[in-house]
């Protein structure tokens, strides 16, 4: 039997105190840094699991289980459990990539889709990569309009405009998209990267006319430049990059404002720059015929006033609102704002004097330097810049062709009902299994720890899977995992109940069986989990595999310790 004294003696061991201290610290970190609660939780679980492989004292094994259960319960309370749209209601649209991509391209795709969703005003859209060839776009609410908005934003092509000194020099539709390509390194002549493209007859003429005599001027490259707009930025946003410490030549406030204004100049559709502090002192802005849209930081207090004045307010993040400058003391004509996401300014290369003589020219190249401390980093940066420019010239096309998968729509009340019933199902499964082991073993000392450990596993699984998203398949997997969890405890119990042989020998035999069957079961699921990218069922695979592994490394060793003491 386990006595109170034994428990106290166990609790006083150094490694046991350490693990509980660690768990308490992790809980505190989760509580204090809520936005990063999930990564903290997952990392601490991983850390404890690793410790479990190396430290093998009896009391430590039980302590690990208790610590993880506490951590998980705290995570459920603090981070919450996230349910998929099957349970919360909403729409899900899978985006299928034509081919598998590396993680950098995937990040790029997800970021692009997020940005597009934000520009459509769909801030609640969740975009997450699934495997290497699929992206899920989910919205918590559903309406046919919303669905078609998302479909539009995914299939949409942006509008590219190249502006020189307030006039449109290059239009995206005048570029032959098939000719946009990277320049092979041997033809780069000094630059780190380059992209070439060919324009149509009318495009060549337009460029020749507009660029004539504008040698060294910046070519402002816009993607979806807003029309009929004004932009209101704070002093801080205006100067964040201009006065940054890493800048060799600081830019004065007057110069910064001048550069910002000239970058937004366009004949007939200027975007006027206002300074937030000046505007809010004496608010008198009113929309006029070709100034109906106001672009402003989401943190600004001006947004409601602008709305009240009749503007269509477009809110951007502080980072998007901050213009980035490039200046050189030798050549002030080429000074420019190079990146300003809030208005769609993506890049501003300098016009080489040879293309500004007024002679129509069909083929152009844009090249530039790359940054990076090592040759590998530099090459990666060059590749990234090349790809960005290519995508920009193609109207913001995604780096890989996409197609939309089958969309799923779940009405919210039905989803909530499904969740309620599924949770009841979990409780019933637990009860049914408890009843079965009670009938089979008929000893409280066996039944109670068995049920306790099944319950503990359920809490851990809910916390871990709920840190990501529990969908229908995931819920089915959690239910299955309860059964799988009890299975290994049955193997241990039956082995311990045998009369012959030493206790430790018998335990070793039970573990040999469990280790083998868990290994085989996990191996069978691995291709489904990691290679298939079949998102619809990955939740199920994850739950069953996680259930088996949790059992093998954490709850079974603890159960064995408890059972061993109970049988003695």
């Amino acid at each position: 039997m386990i006595t109170i004294n034994e428990i106290i003696a166990g609790a006083k061991k150094r490694e046991v105190i350490a693990i509980f201290l660690f768990a308490i610290l992790a809980c505190a970190a989760m509580f204090l840094d809520k936005p990063r609660g999930v990564p903290i939780y997952v990392a601490s679980i991983a850390a404890i699991a690793i410790a479990a492989v190396f430290i093998k004292s009896d009391s430590f094994r039980v302590a690990i289980l208790v610590a993880i259960v506490l951590l998980s319960a705290f995570s459920i309370a603090s981070n919450g459990v996230k349910f998929g749209i099957d349970f919360s209601g909403g729409v899900r649209i899978p985006v299928l990539l034509e081919k598998s991509v590396d993680s950098t391209t995937m990040e790029e795709m997800v970021a692009t889709i997020k940005t597009r969703a934000a520009s459509f005003g769909l801030s609640e859209v969740k975009v997450r990569p699934i495997g290497d060839s699929e992206i899920y776009v989910e919205m918590p609410q559903s309406s046919p309009q919303l669905v078609s908005d998302v479909e539009n934003l995914l299939s949409r092509q942006g509008v590219y405009r190249g502006i020189v000194d307030g006039k449109v020099a290059v239009k995206g539709e005048e570029i032959y998209s098939g000719t946009i390509m990277k320049i092979p390194s041997q033809y780069l002549s000094g630059a780190d990267w380059g992209v070439s493209f060919t324009v149509t007859q009318s495009g060549a003429q337009r460029f020749a006319g507009v660029a004539k005599g504008k040698g060294n001027y910046p070519l402002y490259m816009f993607l979806d430049r807003p029309s009929d707009a004004i932009v209101i930025l704070s002093e801080k946003e205006l100067m964040a990059d201009a006065a940054s410490k890493s800048r060799v030549v600081p830019i004065s406030r007057a110069r910064a404002l001048q550069l910002a204004s000239s970058s937004l100049a366009l004949e007939g559709d200027n975007i006027t720059v206002y300074i937030e502090e000046a505007v809010s002192q004496d608010f008198s802005l009113k929309p006029s015929t070709n100034k109906t849209r106001a672009i402003v930081s989401a943190n600004s207090s001006l947004a409601p006033k602008l709305r009240a004045a009749g503007f269509t307010v477009v809110e951007k993040t502080d980072a998007e609102m901050t213009p980035k400058y490039s200046v050189s003391p030798e050549n002030p004509t080429s000074d420019a704002v190079t990146v300003w996401s809030a208005v769609g300014l993506m890049s501003a290369p300098r016009l080489v004097p040879s293309v500004t003589e007024g002679i129509p020219n069909f083929s152009y190249t844009i090249n530039g330097p790359a940054e990076g401390a090592t040759a590998t980093l530099k090459a990666a940066d060059a590749l990234k810049k090349e790809r960005e420019l290519e995508s920009l010239l193609k109207g913001g096309a995604l780096p890989v062709q996409i197609s939309l998968g089958s969309k799923t729509v779940i009405p919210a009340p039905l989803g909530e009902e499904f969740l309620r019933l599924s949770l009841i199902g979990l409780v019933f499964a637990l009860l049914a299994i408890s009843l079965m082991v009670s009938i089979r073993y008929r000893h409280m000392q066996i039944i109670v720890p068995m049920i306790f450990i099944s319950l503990a596993e359920l809490v851990i699984l809910l916390a871990i899977l709920g840190s990501f998203t529990i969908d229908l398949a995931g819920m089915a997997g959690i239910l299955a995992a309860i059964g799988v969890g009890v299975d290994s405890q049955i193997v241990v119990t039956d082995e311990l109940l045998k009369k012959e042989g030493e206790m430790s020998k018998r335990l070793e035999k039970a573990f040999a069986i469990i280790t083998t069957s868990v290994t085989v079961a996990v191996v069978a699921m691995l291709p489904l989990l990691f290679l298939s990218g079949l998102v619809e069922i990955i939740g199920f695979a994850t739950a069953t595999v996680l259930g088996s592994l949790l059992g093998l490394f954490i709850s079974r060793p603890a159960y064995a310790v408890i059972a061993e003491h109970l049988f003695e």
Binding site: S155, I433, A512, T516, L531, E536
Partner: protein, 384 residues
């Protein structure tokens, strides 16, 4: 659940093999009758939530009359009222449009390149001819697509390839949007529903699902076989374990054909999981019988059976709960997973104890070696 059943291995146990073999034969008969779900076949699955019951037969007749090929209509009741599930086969023109679109987008970049050559070379005869030939090809594709979209457009009137690209993209969107909105309009005129969900699987998507599923099967089989052979390191027991798993999956597949459980991504996942479950008991049996010395092999097999039966029972209870949940909510994912798992676990009882058990015992009683001295391969890595 007192385990007072007789030891099945006490008499001429070899005859027991007849049961699983017979069952596998019956299963083989039913396997061709397995229906493919929308995931693998392509098509549209519309799920509607209604407040009043819907007559499935008349709905099917009405939809067929409107020109849809209806695979199935199911009318069920769920916690929030009534649910109607309509499965419609992929429309031929839609499949064709999809092929046209992807072929077009594969070729258009090259065409754009040739068009730029015409401009750059100042319309040299060679470049013009090359461009014209390439355009002819994509024009044919676009015109067919415009015709399907019922658009009064002609590619010959669109001079630039950039413009053609946009028009084709718009035409394809019009086709798919038109199909979806026509279908939902038809359904809403026939069924008075509160909400509807459409699960559309295009031909290319279902082809991708099939590819991935086959890949998963191949890799899982290879991995599992390798791991089993590494663990047991003797041929007959390894083969017996794998045979038991194969037999189990076949029985589950047979049950799918017999009871009309469609093969979808969910039931596919359940089948893969069954491999793991089935190996669970197979491993228990084989390790207890081959790697131990206490008692006779027959006693050890019987002993393992008692533990194994309890394990299977626990799993079955869990899936029975899921099955009940499925019959209350009519969630297809739950139904497909639980039904396949239950059938497979039943099959596992038969495959493990009547097939695998017999093979292992026969192997031992005909000169096979017990291997107690040998420490199991993986336990040296993990356990104390």
């Amino acid at each position: 659940m007192s385990l007072s059943m007789p030891n099945p291995y006490s008499g001429n146990y070899k005859l027991l093999v007849a049961v699983p073999l017979l069952l596998v034969l019956v299963s083989l008969f039913f396997i061709p009758q397995i229906q493919l779900g929308v995931d693998f076949k392509g098509g549209t699955l519309a799920t509607m939530q209604a407040s009043s019951p819907v007559d499935a037969d008349s709905l099917k007749a009405a939809l067929t009359e409107k020109g849809y090929t209806v695979s199935s209509v199911k009318s069920l009741s769920n916690p929030k009222g009534y649910e109607v599930e309509v499965e419609i086969e992929r429309d031929d023109s839609l499949t064709r449009a999809e092929t046209l679109k992807s072929t077009f987008f594969e070729k258009i970049e090259q065409v754009s390149l040739l068009e730029s050559d015409v401009t750059v070379s100042n319309a040299s005869a060679e470049s013009v001819a090359k461009y014209a030939a390439a355009r002819q090809e994509v024009d044919a594709l676009s015109d067919e697509l415009f015709a399907i979209a019922l658009l009064p457009k002609n590619s010959s009137s669109i001079t630039s390839s950039n413009e053609l690209k946009q028009e084709v993209g718009a035409a394809y969107r019009q086709i798919t949007d038109g199909y979806s909105s026509k279908l939902s309009a038809t359904l809403s005129s026939l069924v008075n529903y509160e909400s509807a969900s459409f699960n559309e699987v295009s031909a290319s998507l279902s082809a991708k699902f099939i590819d991935k599923a086959l890949m998963v099967v191949v890799y899982s089989v290879i991995l599992v076989s390798v791991v089993v052979f590494i663990i047991f390191r003797t041929f007959v027991p390894s083969l017996a374990v794998l045979l038991g798993a194969a037999c189990d999956v076949l029985i589950a597949l047979g049950a799918m054909g017999l009871f009309g459980i469609p093969l979808t991504l969910a039931s596919f996942a359940a089948l893969i999981m069954l491999v793991g479950f089935s190996l669970d008991t197979d491993v228990l049996l084989t390790m207890r019988v081959i790697k131990r010395r206490e008692g006779t092999p027959r006693e050890r097999a019987y002993d393992a059976m008692k533990t194994g039966m309890t394990m299977s029972m626990a799993l079955m209870l869990a899936f029975a709960c899921l099955f009940i949940l499925a019959s209350v909510t009519h969630i297809n994912t739950y139904y497909e997973i639980s039904a396949v798992a239950l059938a497979g676990l039943l099959g596992d009882l038969i495959a493990t104890w009547l097939l695998n058990g017999v093979i292992v015992l026969w192997y031992l009683e005909h000169g096979g070696q017990t291997g107690d001295s040998q420490k199991p391969f993986l336990s040296s890595i993990f356990s104390s």
